[in-house]
């Protein structure tokens, strides 16, 4: 007489989100390749692949940093202004002299490091929500930029422009640097305590505190890294344009675009869950879409419509994906709805 009733277990269906991102990327590539073929072009031509990879690098840098900030449960809206500022800092410091390249890069990164640290301190010390804190610092930088610089300033020596212009085969140097940075950040998240604690703080501040973590450290580190990667994006743009430009960041819309890429990559906007490789996948999806739409000569307004649809659809899919499902005990065939 051992009629142990099987417990009605609640089952969670969950595919790893990074896998979904790359499946989506493959889907986008297939559809894109077919569409491109209809106008008689080859999606897989070396030139086109180089264009896509080039398109990935700037947004990639910004999104890597943004991933950390979102994982920790914050947001960074100041990235476009940090991008512009660093391009100007680098271009004016270098002033066309090859000997000043190192100094220019260093100045740009240091200034960004300071801005990021201040962002982190405002969020942790003054307890200002990251959205508002970085909106504020972003506005401050923006004000400084528009009063100090009237237009493109400084000049970048040819040797530095080289970084933005060459590649190994179809792979641009800038993309290689971006992917190397992604690898480093991936290892940072996986192999350091601070990396682990970024997930912990974003997952639950209360649990993190009760486990004895210094909850401010991961938040400050995430913000600092985010500003530095934004500065790297600014340096890359300066290298491509040859000058520093006060509007290069805001024109690119890198604040919302980077957040969109991170979320598209499966990172939870509330923090605590996500991955760098997912973000890179999200960036790649945007780059492929952009490339396909420019080959097809899609109207620029329609481009934004497509991007918007992709973002909303992706998040809807992720939300629906985590289904807390009760096991059906009786047949569902005759279910009327």
């Amino acid at each position: 007489m051992t009629a142990t009733a099987a417990p009605a277990r609640r089952r969670r269906i969950r595919l790893d989100s990074t896998v979904i991102v790359y499946l989506a990327l493959i889907g986008v590539i297939i559809v894109g390749a077919i569409l491109v073929a209809t106008v008689g072009r080859n999606f897989f031509s070396l030139g086109n692949i180089r264009d896509i990879l080039t398109g990935m690098s700037v947004l990639g840098f910004v999104a890597i940093g943004q991933t950390l900030v979102i994982l920790v449960g914050s947001l960074d809206l100041s990235v476009p202004y940090v991008i512009s500022l660093s391009s100007l800092m680098a271009a004016t410091t270098m002033a066309g002299q090859p000997g000043n390249i190192a100094a220019g890069v260093l100045v740009a990164l240091l200034v960004a490091l300071v801005i990021g640290t201040i962002n982190g301190l405002i969020v942790t010390g003054l307890k200002v929500n990251g959205f508002i804190a970085t909106l504020g610092t972003g506005l401050i930088i923006s004000g400084y930029l528009s009063t100090t610089y009237q237009g493109s300033t400084g000049s970048v020596p040819a040797q530095f422009q080289f970084i933005g212009a060459t590649g190994i085969g179809p792979v641009p140097i800038s993309t290689i640097i971006m992917l190397a940075l992604a690898t480093v950040v991936f290892l940072f998240l996986r192999k350091t305590r601070t990396g682990h604690h970024i997930y912990a703080v974003g997952g639950s501040l209360g649990v993190a505190r009760l486990s004895g973590l210094r909850t401010a450290t991961p938040i400050i580190v995430a913000h600092a890294i985010c500003s530095v990667t934004a500065a790297l994006a600014g340096l890359l743009l300066a290298s491509r344009l040859g000058v520093g430009t006060p509007t290069v960041g805001s024109q690119g819309g890198y604040d919302l675009l980077s957040i969109a890429a991170v979320v598209l990559g499966g990172t939870l906007l509330a923090g605590g869950r996500g991955s760098i490789w997912g973000t890179i996948g999200g960036v790649a999806i945007f780059a492929v879409l952009d490339s396909v739409m420019s080959v097809l000569q899609v109207n620029p307004f329609l481009k934004d419509v497509v991007r918007g649809i992709v973002i909303v659809a992706a998040v809807a899919i992720y939300t629906g994906r985590v289904v807390l499902e009760r096991r059906a005990r009786f047949s569902t065939k005759e279910v009327r709805r």
């Binding site: 009733a5 192999k191 305590r193 682990h196 997930y199 912990a200």
Partner: protein, 498 residues
């Protein structure tokens, strides 16, 4: 044997209200010490003082012979006094190992040793006799019971010598309770002292060597379990006998015509449901966890509607496809999970009480607003004002606000799912009395409950579910054994009354 943890003459008040009045108890290594009392008796406060969440006003706590005064849970944890709270302190999106070693991740050459961390976690789990939890599994993919094991593993990783557990079985299914028993015995063998807080007498007697009873913040007794029986324990806890719990039907209560009839009802979770509910009747739904009790309530209320069969209300066929439909038809559901499904915790008592009226019958809002204070006072809700946020009320008072919210709609059929879970005895009696009053007014009542004494003591008829189907319909006053055998599917259907 000397005590590993001894609490003596501990006092604590909040805002001038004393909640612990000179409580003392001693925990011996390798023993389980039961702490029992009604809600509000001071069990949780005492536990939190031991855990370092609260600081005591006076008295002493000695751990391993030395006087201690922890000011942070982590400090107590590190010293070897761990606590498994009802609400887990786990990160759902991180792995088991990452949770166990959060903040103390082992490092090799400056980098986190993920593999070593997983191995160490597997060793700790093995010490508890657990081999079915993968240290690299995400916590959110685990069952509640498994998550609790992770919490205990975390305590073990601190080399805890005292582990307090607050209502550890509250969210567990029956077979999982067995698993917990096994773990507790393993911990005992390691010489860990366990402070076990529970409402469930059976568990207390199954597990504990010593039982301490608290009432209104004062120590009633601290005696070996073998000196007590259940009746005596209840008497000490409440100061009255268990029969007095359940009020008799009010005079003038009549079983009227059929209010609700379900014929052949079924969906993904339940099947073949034939049920009649008469006006003025209280029908109890019993069954094991996962038998479809809650699913039946949700089906009638349209939250997870029936996909087969028919339903009639007062003789008229109805299709209840959504909760909104149910409310409009005069059905109310007091859900199992008050905090998540019954209340908007950060909103006021008044807003909560008007929630359903405003949403479904906006034209009646003004009239309802005038009635609410009367309804609340008839339920004896104690609160500071209509604008007080419900999160600051006790569990019993919160439940009364939920009841008030539904009473304001003048329902014809009231379904109560675990109406007395986690509320104190006084509030329980208030809920029972209210049920009797509603029955006297001709409301049909369906009460889903996992507490057999409650089902037996309150129901005019008991419907037992097993594996999603009705397995028996029993008379009032049936024995717990009869209900249990029908619920486990071991009983003959000969007991069906019809």
């Amino acid at each position: 044997m000397t005590a590993i943890l001894s609490v003596s003459d501990v006092w604590k008040s909040f805002f001038g209200v004393p909640v612990l009045k000179g409580v003392s108890l001693e925990l011996q290594p390798g023993s389980v010490h039961g702490l029992i009392g009604e809600n509000g008796a001071g069990k949780s406060t005492l536990m939190k003082i031991v855990a370092g969440v609260y600081t005591k006003d006076s008295g002493t706590v000695r751990f391993d012979g030395r006087e201690v005064d922890y000011t942070h849970p982590l400090q107590a944890m590190r010293a070897g006094v761990a606590t498994v709270f009802q609400e887990f302190n786990l990160l759902p999106d991180r792995s088991v190992a990452e949770n166990v070693f959060l903040g103390r991740e082992p490092r090799k050459g400056g980098f986190v040793d993920n593999r070593g961390m997983a191995r160490r976690t597997a060793e700790l789990l093995a010490e508890l006799g657990i081999d079915f939890i993968d240290p690299e599994a995400r916590v959110s993919s685990l069952t509640v019971a498994e998550q609790q094991i992770v919490e205990i593993t975390k305590a073990l990783s601190f080399d805890a010598r005292v582990i307090s557990m607050d209502e550890p079985t509250a969210a567990l299914a029956d077979h999982e309770v067995e698993l917990l028993y096994g773990i507790i015995r393993r911990l005992q063998q390691r010489g860990v002292a366990i402070l076990y807080v529970s409402h469930r007498l059976k568990e207390i007697f199954d597990l504990c060597d010593t039982i301490t009873v608290l009432k209104d913040g004062a120590l009633i007794s601290s005696t070996p379990a073998s000196d007590l029986d259940a009746a005596e324990l209840v008497r000490r806890m409440v100061g009255r006998s268990i029969e007095a719990f359940f009020p008799d039907p009010l005079p003038g209560t009549e079983r009227g015509p059929v209010r609700l009839r379900v014929s052949g009802g079924g969906n993904d979770y339940i099947d073949g449901i034939d049920l009649q509910l008469h006006a003025g009747e209280i029908v109890g739904i019993a069954g094991l966890q996962g038998s479809g009790r809650t699913e039946l309530a949700e089906a009638i209320f349209g939250a997870v509607p029936f996909s087969r069969g028919t339903m009639e209300l007062d003789g008229a066929a109805v299709r209840i496809g959504s909760p909104r439909r149910a409310v409009r038809s005069g059905i109310a559901l007091i859900t199992e999970d008050r905090k998540a499904q019954g209340l908007a915790l950060a909103q006021s008592v008044l807003d909560n009480a008007l929630l359903v009226i405003r949403g479904v019958f906006p034209s009646r809002t003004r009239a309802a607003r005038r009635r609410i204070p009367g309804v609340l006072s008839s339920l004896e809700v104690s609160f500071r004002g209509l604008d007080q946020e419900v999160q600051f009320l006790s569990g019993g008072n919160q439940q009364k606000v939920v009841l008030a919210k539904w009473l304001a709609t003048d329902p014809r059929v009231v379904i109560l799912d675990e109406p007395t879970r986690g509320i104190d005895v006084g509030a329980k009696v208030a809920v029972y009395t209210l049920m009797r009053e509603l029955a006297a007014k001709g409301v049909a009542i369906l009460m889903v409950s996992s507490e057999l004494p409650e089902v037996i003591g309150m129901s005019d008829r008991i419907v037992v579910l097993h594996d999603g189907r009705i397995s028996a319909e029993l008379e009032p006053g049936s024995s717990e054994e009869a209900v249990l055998s029908a619920a486990t599917g071991t009983g003959a259907l000969g007991e069906v009354v019809q």
